[in-house]
Symmetry: C2
Subunit: 346 residues, 2 copies
DNA sequence: TAAATTTATGCAATCGATGCCGGGATTCCG
DNA sequence: CGGAATCCCGGCATCGATTGCATAAATTTA
C-alpha cells in the first residue's frame, strides 16, 4: 500500500537523527548550513512532504476549517463556499463541507463531528429548523472559534457576516409600492431565522412609510424553506386565493424566489399581473421568464470575509473578546437590469 | 484553550490503564463486562470522543475523501457534491472540497495537498486546462484510490462515472434536425476534455445520420470553458456572422449553455430564430426566457455512485484490479417540458 | 496442594514530527 | 594549555489511541 516518505527515512538514508532532519527542514538555527543543504536536497529529491496528521496531533492544529450550510446546491451557498475556499486555500487551510439540509439533528451531528478536534474553527449558517443552540454554545465556550454568516444568532457572541437585510427588504418592497402596488404579499422562510425576521421588518417598514396597512393574511411562511414538496406552491396559492388577492409579492429567500416564479408560471400569471421582487443569487436571474426584480447578496464576499475573520480568531495569540458583525451591502436589480442599488458601500 | 477529554483522563479517573479503557470502549473480548460498563458509563457521562487525528496517525486512515472540481458554484458540480456528501456522511467520511478553477496548476497543487496522507481517496473531475496527468498517475501508482467522474481520462485505470455523452449529444442534435434545422452549430468546451470529444462525436454522428455535411466553421471551442470574459459571446458572435449563418446551436456544457443564451439575448435573437439545445443542470432551465432544450445529467446520482465506488476501493481488503466505468443516462427536455428521454435506464 | 489454565489488566512500542535537554567536538580566550 | 563558550547534533519524551506481549490474580484441573 501507499507508504509515504517519513522524516525517519531521510534520517536513516543520511545517517542522521530524525530530530536533526526535522530541524534542518524547518531551518532550525542549531543546524549547520551544510547539513541543512544535504537534508533539503535529499528531501526534495525524494519528494518528502510532512505528514499533516502527525503535525496536527503534535500541534493540536489541523489546518482545516469546517463549514456547515443547509445545502451546497444553492447559488448563494455555493458562491459563499467559493469565497471561503479562496481564502482558506491561500492561507493553507483545508475546507471541510457538511450540509444540514435545514435539519436540526443533522446540524448537531455535523457540528459535533467537525468540532471533535479535527477542525480548527467553524463557519456556519444556521439550519431553518434550529431553535436550540446549545450544541454551538458548548463548543464556543470550550474555545472553538466560530463565525456565523447569513443566518446568524444573537445567543453567541462572535464575529458575524450578514447583509443589510432590513434595508434590502425595505427597498425591494418599496420598489413594488412605487410601481403602484399596495396589496403586497410576503413569502418568507422559517419564522425564527435571523434573515426572516430582519427582512420581515424591512417589509413592514416599507409598508408603514407609505401608509399601507399591514395585513397578516398577506404573509406566508415556509417553515421548511421550500424544501418540502408543494410548500411554496401552496403558499402562493393561498396568497392568490385571498378574497382581496395580493397584487405583488416580496420573497425573502433565494430558494423561495425561484419556487414562487415556478408556481406563478404554473398558474399562468404574467409578471405584469403579479410582479415579484425577491432575494436571489442565481446566476441566470436576468434570463428568467416570469421576470424577477431581485436583491443579490455578495455571497462570495461574505464567504471571504467570514473566513478571514475565522482564521483571525484561530491564529489569534490572545483570546479575542471584541467581536464584530460585518454588514455588507446588497444590490437591487430590476426586472430588466440594474437600476437602483442598496445603501452603497463606503 | 479547548482541551478535549482523552482516554488517559478516563483511565486516571477510574484508576485503570489507558489500554484497558481503550479495549473497554471498543468492546474488546478480554475486558470484564463490569469494567466495560463502568468505563462506558463514565465516557458517556463526560462526553468522551476519540480523537480522529490520533486514530488517523495510528491507523493510516483519515476517514476523509478529497474532491477536486473546477468550481463549486456550478449547478452540475454542486449537485454532484451533494450526492458525494450524502454517501460520505452515511459512511462516516468527511468531504474535503477543493476547486481547480479549470487551471492545471491549481489542480496539481490541490491533488498533492489532498493526497499527502490526509485523505483516503480522491474524487476528481478534470480541469479544462489539464493535459498532463502525471500528478494523478503517480498518486495512483502509489496506491491512492481515485475515482473519476464527468470529466475522465483514459490514461488511468480506475473506476469512472460518466453519462452517455455520445448518445445524449446525438439526441440533442437530432432534435434540432428534426425540427427542421440543418445548419447546426456546435459550441464546445476545451477540445481535449473527454466530455468535449464524446459529445462532439455524438453531434457529428447525428449530422451524418441525416446526411448533413459537417462544417468545421460551425464548431466553436471555448478552451477556457467560458471562464474568460467574453469567450462565449465572441464564439456565438462568430457563429452568427458566418456567411451562411447557423440556424441552431448545440451546446455541450452547462456553463456554455447559459452563456450562449445570454449572448443570444444580448443580440436580440428569439428562440424561434435560433433554437438552442445544450447540456444544463440549472434548476431553473424551464423558466429561462430564450428557451433551452436541454440535456440534464443525473449529477446527484453521479456523485453518489462515484463516492460508493471510491469507498469500495478504500475499504477493499485486497487490491482491486477490475475497474468499471458506470455510464448513466441523461434526460432530454424540450423547450416546454420533458418530451423525449435519453436511452432509458434498465 | 501444586500445576495448568483462564481471566483481566498493565506495560511498552508504535504512528510521524517536534521540543527540550544534554553531550561531544571544536573554537576561543586568558 | 586549560577552561569556557559555541556549535551541532542525538536521545528521549510527547501528542492520543491502539495492540502484542507480559503478568498478576482467579479459577480449574490433576
Amino acid at each position: 500500500m501507499f507508504k509515504p516518505v517519513t522524516i525517519k527515512d531521510i534520517a536513516k538514508a543520511l545517517g542522521l537523527s530524525p530530530s536533526t532532519v526535522s530541524r534542518a527542514l524547518r531551518d532550525g538555527y542549531e543546524i549547520s548550513p551544510e547539513t541543512k543543504r544535504i537534508v533539503k536536497e535529499y528531501a526534495d529529491k525524494i519528494d518528502y512532504r510532512s505528514n499533516p496528521i502527525a503535525l496536527s496531533l503534535k500541534g493540536r492544529r489541523s489546518y482545516s476549517i469546517g463549514v456547515v450550510v443547509c445545502e451546497v446546491a444553492n447559488s448563494f451557498f455555493s458562491q459563499a463556499i467559493n469565497g471561503i475556499e479562496s481564502i482558506a486555500y491561500n492561507k493553507g487551510y483545508r475546507v471541510i463541507i457538511s450540509q444540514s439540509h435545514d435539519l436540526y439533528e443533522r446540524e448537531v451531528i455535523n457540528t459535533k463531528h467537525l468540532a471533535n478536534s479535527s477542525v480548527d474553527g467553524l463557519l456556519i449558517s444556521m439550519a431553518a429548523e434550529t431553535t436550540d443552540f446549545s450544541h454551538l454554545s458548548s463548543l464556543h465556550e470550550n474555545g472553538l472559534p466560530i463565525v456565523f454568516f447569513d443566518r446568524v444568532i444573537d445567543q453567541i457572541q462572535t464575529h458575524k457576516v450578514i447583509v443589510n437585510n432590513f434595508s434590502s427588504a425595505f427597498e425591494a418592497t418599496e420598489l413594488l409600492i412605487k410601481r403602484g402596488h399596495s396589496r403586497i404579499a410576503h413569502l418568507a422562510s422559517a419564522p425564527h431565522l435571523s434573515i426572516t425576521t430582519e427582512r420581515m421588518d424591512g417589509y413592514t417598514a416599507a409598508l408603514n412609510k407609505h401608509s399601507i396597512a399591514f395585513n397578516p393574511e398577506y404573509v406566508q411562511y415556509c417553515p421548511h424553506g421550500g424544501r418540502i414538496y408543494g410548500e411554496v406552491e401552496d403558499a402562493v396559492k393561498k396568497l392568490l386565493s385571498l378574497p382581496d388577492s395580493a397584487d405583488a409579492i416580496f420573497v425573502s429567500s433565494d430558494r423561495l424566489s425561484i419556487g414562487c416564479l415556478r408556481a406563478l408560471k404554473k398558474f399562468h400569471l404574467n409578471p405584469e399581473d403579479m410582479p415579484v421582487a425577491g432575494f436571489s443569487n442565481s446566476d441566470v436571474v436576468e434570463l428568467l421568464k416570469p421576470t424577477l426584480s431581485y436583491v443579490r447578496q455578495p455571497a462570495f464576499e461574505m464567504g471571504r470575509i467570514a473566513t478571514e475573520l475565522l482564521i483571525g480568531l484561530i491564529e489569534a495569540k490572545y483570546p479575542v473578546t471584541e467581536f464584530e458583525t460585518k454588514v455588507l451591502d446588497t444590490e437591487l436589480f430590476l426586472n430588466d437590469g440594474p437600476l437602483a442599488t442598496g445603501s452603497k458601500s463606503v
